[in-house]
């Protein structure tokens, strides 16, 4: 029969809306409002998975995000999500889930033999067992461990859904919408404060829905619904349901995940799967509730052993009976509620077993009235059964050695007390403190603008929660600057006082050894903690790492305090002396997609295109990414054209005729003011005080540590007006560098500057015929006398205003035309037209790079953040009689001593063999495998069309004085060794006559 464990009535489910779902291929029915876990329990399905290490059968222990066991693979195909907790999955029609970590099937799992070999898998087993030899790791151990101890498997297809990021400010953030949180939100909102209230469930109410409470004369569930309605009607309140606050960061910044579409088969059109919120509240009220601890006894991981509060939640929230013969085992007063709720739901409660000798009299009377047996001074020593609980053995907690008492049952509801959820408080930088009266950690001194209330503060009585919420909401609003009046109180029916006597671990029947699980997700047992402590890992942080306790996806929500208490017992010290672990975000696992948000695929990074991009695209240019820029790399003329064909053709065209390249991506900075010359003089190593108007100069900048930072030309456009260019890569860092010195070190200099990189299009026209081409369109005298090398002038190019620079990167007679970017494409087309008869062509960055290597110009691969001006052969430019950045530190002994890597030219002496970038330069006596004796490396290679052979630039120890020497260039990765000759880095036109022609 379907749903035979469903109660006849009750629960916050909609019985008119049945839903169908499958688990491990079998179809079941549930109702709207169910979770996957509640629907499975309604159908009597308890066995959900196999444990991580020992492959023991595991079921459902909890009713919320603290669940360590009930993990499933949700959905299939691209939307498959492994390791999702069945307790937090809202049921939808057609849901498909599968158990994980079992092979070949859940009921018969081969790897369960791990259970028999468990002595091998004790604490620290990774470190001890799999130490040697190293090669075994990749070949043997890792394979076995992945198979044996795997969790679910991830989807292999791309996620078809999108994730979204939102930001919101508010006065008061209320975390959790239980009785305390609801009161706090209404109270704060009533003062006029902007309130956000977040709760991980779809429905607000928290424990009011889980429990059988009455407030203000109506059921807790109805009261909660009324408050939720009230909040929804207030326009200063933003309700974030299905939202978990996962992180409390510095300066009261809060991270939250809203599960927008996890409760439907797939997101509606335009809706994200999840949404990540960054919240900026002035005050935070933490009403995050508390998490129950399980009792620790032998085989406490059997399916059928659950938390006492979870049992109540399944009855009250979902109308589900998790068993038919129940034992309630506790060390505190709270679990008595479970016996009463079970009884009312028609489940036979065999006994309440209270480890305390003297249970509270009013509670005992309540049980008596229902004829439920109360066994005091005993607890469960061990649970027994195969794939489900069959009976328990009760043992005395008073040190008596009487025979254990066997009781048959299929459900244990256990409680070892409550842990206030201090996670967010701890994440905010505060330190929780131990409270002996409730045997738990409670919030300590606040470090940020937060306060914990209700169960999150250790107040487990309903009336206290309601009252604290009312007061805390008002206080938070007042602290945010609001004035108003307190809302009226709410009064609770529940009057049981909370009491507890700690019991951290049960004696075992006949002192036999049993597996007593602390952390069920990572299969950490009490004996592992004892062992770790004996082996010296007896501080909390070490214990965690050695045993992996608390390091699974549940972050030890049900196990941390139990582990700490057992460690404290082992050390013979009180719990506060042993300490507590620091909680770190995230509180629940957060899907990676949330952190990426929309920055995936083509939106990963902006793309910068120059004004000439469209033309390049039409030409079929092949592009290369340079930072965020797309630059034309080469221009194939036919489908057969290779990269090599193109750059050789383009280089030859430049060196023999005239060609054009788009250089718009260079950084450009406009600098103005009376002190610019002095400013430049301090930024660059060379002289700038006497640069005439209408002239450009090449300059080198160092960092403060003496290493070369960037190079480029700066031109004096007018009396107080200069124009700087930087390398493409350093455009932004150079600007920030200039701003730093101007605003912190040299505020006395009267200069202003800003980036104009995108305002100007730069076109280099290079080659022996470049002057002839420009004379067709430029209205100024370009003769060598009127416009020599490094000249600058304003001009008209046809009808376009242009700036003309006579500078050269190719080593040929060359000019650079700058026009306003809006005219960039027009200028490019007009230059092409002006050179059409002489056969002008475009060239890309590959030819540009080839020509720079032929000319020995240093670029990014030589300016590697380690080389000095001396290393690069540029020290001659420095004027050491003035001040400049890096002047002193560039003279540190290590930077000017012997053995520095200096830039050199490199030629292969083995005909037909190409050099390889990154190859090490070594003595010919050094073996190929041993590059530890590397004397340097190759930084850039090309085939030089001008020389007809492969050439390279490199960095070599004392290279400047080793021209003519032969050495080996080796690449062990490619099993390659080539004989090379070291030479001057300038391969062609060493005197620079061409550029001055």
């Amino acid at each position: 029969m379907s749903q035979k464990f469903r109660c006849d009535e009750g629960g916050a489910i909609d019985r008119r809306k049945p839903l169908s779902f499958t688990f491990d291929g079998k179809t079941y029915q549930g109702y709207e409002g169910d979770t996957l876990a509640s629907a499975l329990l309604a159908n009597g399905v308890h066995l959900l998975g196999r444990s991580f290490k020992y492959h023991r059968p595991r079921g459902i222990m909890c009713a919320g995000s603290e669940e360590p066991n009930a993990m499933v693979e949700l959905r299939t195909g691209a939307r498959k999500e492994p390791n999702t907790r069945a307790t937090t999955i809202e049921l939808f029609d057609g849901l498909v889930a599968n158990s994980q970590n079992r092979w070949p099937s859940l009921r018969f799992d081969v790897m369960a033999v791990n259970n028999l070999f468990s002595p091998l898998l004790s604490a620290g087993f990774y470190y001890k067992t799999f130490m040697w030899p190293v090669s075994f790791w990749t070949n043997v151990y890792e394979h076995i461990i992945r198979r044996a101890a795997g969790l679910g498997t991830a989807a292999t297809e791309a996620d078809p859904d999108f994730y979204e990021q939102c930001h919101e400010h508010c006065d008061v953030l209320v975390v959790g919408a239980g009785p305390a949180g609801l009161m706090a939100a209404i109270s704060a909102a009533n003062y006029g404060a902007r309130v956000i209230i977040a709760d991980e469930h779809a429905q607000l109410g928290g424990s009011l829905i889980n429990e059988n409470f009455n407030v203000d004369g109506i059921s807790g569930k109805d009261w909660a619904a009324r408050q939720a309605q009230k909040l929804a009607g207030m326009n200063n309140v933003h309700i974030l349901n299905r939202t978990t606050i996962f992180g409390y960061y510095d300066h009261n910044t809060i991270g939250a995940i809203e599960k927008v579409s996890d409760h439907v088969p797939q997101p509606a059109a335009g809706k994200p799967r999840q949404r990540m919120w960054t919240l900026y509240p002035k005050r935070v009220v933490i009403a995050a509730g508390a998490t129950e601890r399980p009792l620790i006894f032998g085989n406490n991981d059997k399916p059928g052993v659950m938390l006492a509060s979870a049992v109540r939640t399944y009855i009250n929230r979902w109308g589900v009976k998790p068993g038919s013969r129940a034992i309630v085992a506790t060390n505190n007063s709270d679990a008595y509620r479970t016996a009463i709720d079970l009884h009312q739901a028609g489940v036979r409660v065999v006994a309440v077993v209270d480890s305390r000798m003297h249970p509270d009299a009013p509670l005992a009377a309540k049980l008596d009235a229902l004829s439920i047996e109360l066994i005091a001074g005993k607890t469960i020593g061990a649970a027994e059964g195969g794939q489900h609980l069959r009976y328990v053995q009760l043992v005395s907690t008073q040190g008596l050695t009487a025979d254990p008492q066997r009781i048959d049952c299929d459900l244990v509801a256990s409680s070892s007390g409550w842990n206030p959820n201090v996670h967010l408080h701890s994440q905010s930088g505060a330190k929780p403190i131990y409270d002996e009266t409730i045997a738990s950690f409670v919030p300590g001194q606040s470090r940020q603008a937060e306060v914990s209330i209700g169960a999150a503060k250790g107040s487990f009585e309903l009336q206290d929660c309601l009252d604290q919420g009312r007061a805390a909401g008002a206080e938070a609003a007042k602290l945010s600057g609001f004035k108003g009046r307190l809302i009226k109180t709410a009064s609770a029916s529940d009057d049981d006082a909370y009491s507890i006597e700690a019991l951290w671990i049960a004696p075992t029947p006949y002192n036999k050894s049993y597996k007593q699980f602390i952390d069920q997700q990572n299969d950490v047992k009490a004996s592992d903690i004892d062992l770790a402590a004996r082996e010296g890992y007896d501080s909390v942080e070490l214990l965690k790492r050695y045993t992996t306790q608390g390091m699974a996806t549940d972050q030890g929500k049900t196990s941390n305090v139990n582990a700490l208490a057992i460690l404290a017992a082992q050390r013979g010290e009180p719990i506060p002396e042993v300490g507590t672990t620091t909680f770190r975000p995230p509180y629940v696992p957060v899907a990676m997609g949330n952190f990426a948000g929309h920055t995936v695929g083509y939106q990963f990074m902006p793309v910068r295109r120059t004004a000439i991009h469209d033309w390049n695209e039409k030409q079929g240019a092949v592009f290369i990414e340079a930072g965020m820029w797309l630059r034309a790399r080469y221009y194939p003329q036919s489908p057969e054209d290779t990269l090599y064909d193109c750059y050789v053709r383009e280089t030859n065209a430049t060196r023999s005729n005239v060609a054009m390249v788009d250089v718009s991506t260079l950084g450009k900075i406009d600098i103005q003011g009376p002190d610019v010359a002095e400013f430049l003089n301090r930024l660059y190593i060379n002289n700038w005080l006497k640069l005439p108007i209408g002239r450009a100069r090449y300059g080198i900048m160092l960092r403060e540590d003496g290493v070369v930072f960037d190079d480029g030309t700066t031109t004096r456009l007018g009396e107080n007006h200069y124009f700087m260019t930087t390398t493409t890569a350093n455009a932004a860092p150079v600007l920030a560098h200039m701003e730093y010195y101007h605003q912190t070190a040299w505020p006395e200099l009267d200069v202003v500057f800003c980036s104009v990189t995108e305002q100007w299009t730069g076109i280099a026209v290079a080659g022996p015929n470049s002057r002839k081409l420009l004379e067709n369109v430029i209205d100024i005298d370009l003769s060598n006398e009127a416009f020599p090398f490094m000249a600058y002038g304003e001009c008209k190019m046809n009808n376009i205003s242009a700036r003309l620079f006579r500078i050269s990167f190719s080593g040929e007679l060359a000019y650079e035309v700058n026009v306003a970017a809006d005219y960039g494409e027009q200028a490019w087309l007009e230059l092409l037209e002006a050179g059409r008869e002489m056969g002008v062509s475009p060239y890309g960055t590959e030819a540009l790079g080839t020509m720079r290597i032929e000319k020995g110009h240093v670029a990014g691969s030589e300016l590697d953040g380690r080389t000095t001006a001396l290393d690069l052969g540029l020290e001659g430019m420095a004027n050491r009689s003035k001040h400049f950045i890096g002047k002193h530190n560039s003279q540190r002994p290590a930077l000017i001593g012997d053995g520095r890597l200096q830039v050199v030219g490199i030629k292969s002496v083995e005909a037909g063999r190409n050099l390889r970038i990154g190859a090490h330069l070594v003595d010919d006596k050094v073996k190929l495998e041993s590059v530890s004796q590397s004397q340097g490396h190759i930084t850039a290679i090309t085939f030089s069309p001008s020389l007809g052979c492969g050439i390279a630039l490199g960095l070599l120890q004392d290279g400047a004085s080793r021209h003519g020497e032969q050495i080996d260039a080796v690449s062990p990765l490619h099993d390659e060794k080539i004989r090379v000759e070291i030479c001057h880095p300038i391969f062609i036109d060493p005197k620079g006559e061409l550029v001055r022609a």
């Binding site: 510095d250 300066h251 009261n252 910044t253 005050r283 940020q448 603008a449 540590d705 605003q743």
Partner: protein
Amino acid sequence: MLRIECPWCGVRNEDEFSYGGDASVQRPADGGSLDEWYDYVYTRDNSAGQHTEHWQHLNGCRAWITVVRDTITHEIFDTAPASPNLPPGSGSGKKTNGVKS
């Protein structure tokens, strides 16, 4: 996420800023010894507690500002323009976040 008050733009997220190091270090005069220059670049106190440091409002107004921050708690006590030539801005000297004093 630190919330830093730019004296001109107001309180902004840390990811609009870039860190610029210890602001208490004095840049030596040109004539300084190599030791002084070495210390200026390489020697830092790594203090636990109040620290005066430079940040640039890189993805904002691009001003360099001086921030007094506690390196343990991240509490920010004060922010001000780094340049003495620039007006103090509206927010100078104010506390910039919800940290309790």
